[in-house]
């Protein structure tokens, strides 16, 4: 446990509070662009106002919590697996966005996630991921006739 029982200011808690405040601001700013059309309808503005006000209050609540050290103790963080997983997701998104189809991206995501959990057989996992992608394509695309983003590989089937 990194934090001791004595009360210390929790910087991460303050950052969370700040983010909530930013969100509240975005909701408010977006609300100002709406128009009230019907005199009898409450209009689309009320809910954003409630949400924005609520988030502001909660930001204050989170600041108090952070100052009092109410947040739970955290374990140390290993960043490498996080980047591996997010990298896998990013490459899948990019491949789909630029017409690469989902199979290659899926294989990469499988391999990077597996590596994030400590496996050191990237190429084998890439192959396993590819096989799973083909199976899913056949199950989803052909059997359940759902449309999956296709690229050069998918068009072979």
């Amino acid at each position: 446990m990194s934090t001791s029982s004595q009360r210390r200011i929790d910087v991460a808690g303050l950052v969370i509070a700040l983010l909530l405040l930013v969100l509240a601001g975005v909701v408010w700013w977006d609300m100002t662009k709406l128009q009230i059309l019907s005199p009898y309808d409450l209009g689309p503005k009320v809910m954003p106002i409630v949400v924005s006000a609520g988030l502001t209050l909660l930001a204050i609540g989170n600041v108090i919590g952070a100052l009092r050290g109410d947040l739970p103790a955290r374990d140390s963080l290993d960043w490498k697996p996080i980047f591996l997983i997010l990298g896998g997701l990013a490459s899948l998104i990019l491949l789909i966005a630029f017409g690469g189809g989902f199979m290659i991206g899926t294989a990469i995501l499988f391999a990077t996630t597996s590596a994030a959990f400590g496996r050191r057989a990237f190429l084998t996992d890439l192959l396993i991921g590819a096989v799973i992608a083909v199976l899913i394509y056949l199950l989803f695309g052909k059997l359940l006739t759902l449309s999956l983003p296709a690229g050069p590989l998918e068009n072979l089937f």
């Binding site: 977006d30 128009q35 009230i36 739970p72 999956l148």
Partner: protein, 499 residues
């Protein structure tokens, strides 16, 4: 009685061979996915939702019933054998269950949880059958202002009242409400928080949010602390069967667990963790074998597991009769209904009685199937648990992304999934509850439209919220439930009775 004639006609729907098959597939898939460590029932339903896209509504909702109960059962298997409850409701089961497994009594632990789930599920579904027509009758008289007030109660109880920290719970809820704002406002046709992105005009998909928070968030969280925390699977050794002594020690906890679980689940109070821990504490106090607690007492598995299942069936009461989801899983089921344009509530009972009662009848059938299938198949489920962790999470992420793009083939949807995954990771790390986000997203827009409907009927007079006695009472309850945890510190702590 009226309820039983309705149930009988529902049974006629449910025992059609195709629907029996759907129920069976649902039960098997639900158990298989629910057994995987880190996957709770809500995620099980969310991950399997795409599979039902092309089925007809009745078949798909019947399959859902199976997935729901199967996922619950699978979760407790994992809790007993590796002590990683996929959700907080299985935490109490894991306490004694895992100790039993370590002591070589994993078989009886699984058996008492399977039979206890069956007993509790059957009694609670019976409760649902009897209670639903009455609630529907009351709900018919609800005006929009009463619905709005009811949703306020649900918002508060789900997020603030029973959690560890009301501020963190409410923060989660408001993030959900914020996400619920995104998209085109149906009454005025204007888009909110969409920033010109076409994919955002159609609102945020509940499944994308749930899969992001639960699957991607969980994967990131577990991976980030793998160097500290290692999971260990307990083998099932010895006999699977319960001895006479085990039966004698189990049947009362089953019934008491059901008595805790069903009413608390049926009240729009949300969360199966309260009844499970209440049951755990009660069994610990009443047991004739106090020396066993802390070493693997069968009462400590039988009671909480029954409470868990009874409360799961209980949450179906507000969901089906009022359209009010009070847990993440119930929110996923509601999303499943909505994909067919069906809105649970009193109207659905009137318009589609075969569908609703078919679903309720299927719950009985799914429950029976689970009992028959799970003990013989336990070897298979245990095999699923031995999938190496890297492949398990890689497979979960592949399936999660696949389901997301199958529902909506656009990279923007995947970006949202990733963002929600990061959100889920941060929330886990800082101990923000996740269910309120999902409930906020799905219930926020409904609450808003009820409020606006109420106020346009009253020509904009907000006093309508206080003039209806039902609405005024419910709002008062919501206010009390909101303020109580700030004054009574540690209302949520009674779940921390374990030592």
């Amino acid at each position: 009685m009226e309820a039983f004639t309705s149930l009988a006609s529902g049974l006629a729907v449910a025992i059609q061979p195709m629907n029996l098959l759907f129920a069976l597939i649902g039960v098997l898939l639900g158990t298989a996915v629910g057994v995987l460590p880190g996957i709770g029932p809500a995620l099980t339903v969310a991950l399997l939702l795409p599979i039902t896209f092309k089925l007809d509504p009745a078949g798909s909702i019947i399959m859902f019933a199976g997935i729901y109960y199967g996922g619950m059962y699978g979760g407790s298997t994992t809790a007993i054998l590796i002590n990683t409850p996929g959700e907080s409701a299985s935490m109490a089961t894991a306490l004694e269950g895992n100790l039993m497994a370590k002591a070589g009594r994993g078989g009886p632990a699984l058996a008492t949880s399977a039979i206890g789930s069956f007993v509790a599920g059957t009694i609670a579904t019976l409760g649902l059958t009897l209670l639903a027509p009455y609630l529907v009758e009351i709900a018919v008289s609800f005006g929009p202002e009463d619905y709005f007030a009811l949703m306020c109660v649900a918002f508060v109880t789900v997020s603030a009242t029973f959690g560890d920290s009301p501020v963190r719970g409410l923060t989660s809820l408001f993030i959900g409400l914020l996400l619920g704002l995104v998209g085109i406002d149906l009454l005025s046709g204007q888009s909110r928080l969409s920033f010109g992105v076409p994919e955002l005009y159609d609102n945020i998909e509940v499944t994308t949010l749930a899969v992001g928070l639960f699957a991607v968030g969980e994967a990131l969280y577990v991976a980030s602390r793998r160097h500290i925390h290692e999971e260990k699977l307990e083998a099932v050794r010895g006999s699977l069967w319960m001895t006479k002594e085990d039966w004698k020690r189990s049947w009362k906890p089953w019934l008491r667990g059901t008595a805790f679980g069903f009413p608390i689940g049926a009240l729009p109070a949300g969360g199966a963790e309260i009844p499970t821990f209440l049951s755990y504490a009660t069994e610990k106090r009443l047991t004739k074998h106090p020396e066993d607690f802390g070493k693997g007492a069968i009462e400590g598995v039988a009671g909480p597991e029954a409470a868990n299942n009874a409360s799961a069936a209980g949450t179906l009461v507000p969901l089906l009769t009022l359209g009010l989801p009070t847990s993440a899983t119930a929110a996923m089921l509601l999303a499943g209904f909505q994909q067919y344009g069906l809105n649970p509530g009193p109207l659905l009972f009137a318009e589609q009685p075969n569908l609703v009662w078919g679903l309720i009848a299927s719950l009985f059938i799914a429950n029976g199937m689970l009992l028959v299938l799970n003990l013989p198949l336990v070897g298979l489920w245990v095999k699923l648990l031995t999938i190496p962790q890297p492949w398990l999470y890689a497979g979960i992420l592949v399936f999660a992304t696949m389901g997301t793009i199958a529902a909506n083939p656009s990279p923007v949807e995947l970006i949202m999934l990733t963002v929600f995954g990061v959100l889920g990771f941060v929330m886990r790390r800082f101990d923000f509850p996740i269910a309120p986000v999902v409930v906020g997203l799905i219930l926020g827009p409904i609450a808003e439209s009820q409020l606006r409907r109420a106020l346009s009927i009253s020509l904009g007079d907000p006093m309508v919220l206080l003039q209806s006695p039902i609405s005024a009472t419910l709002l008062a309850i919501a206010l009390i439930a909101l303020l109580l945890p700030f004054f009574l510190k540690g209302l949520g702590r009674f779940k921390a009775v374990e030592d």
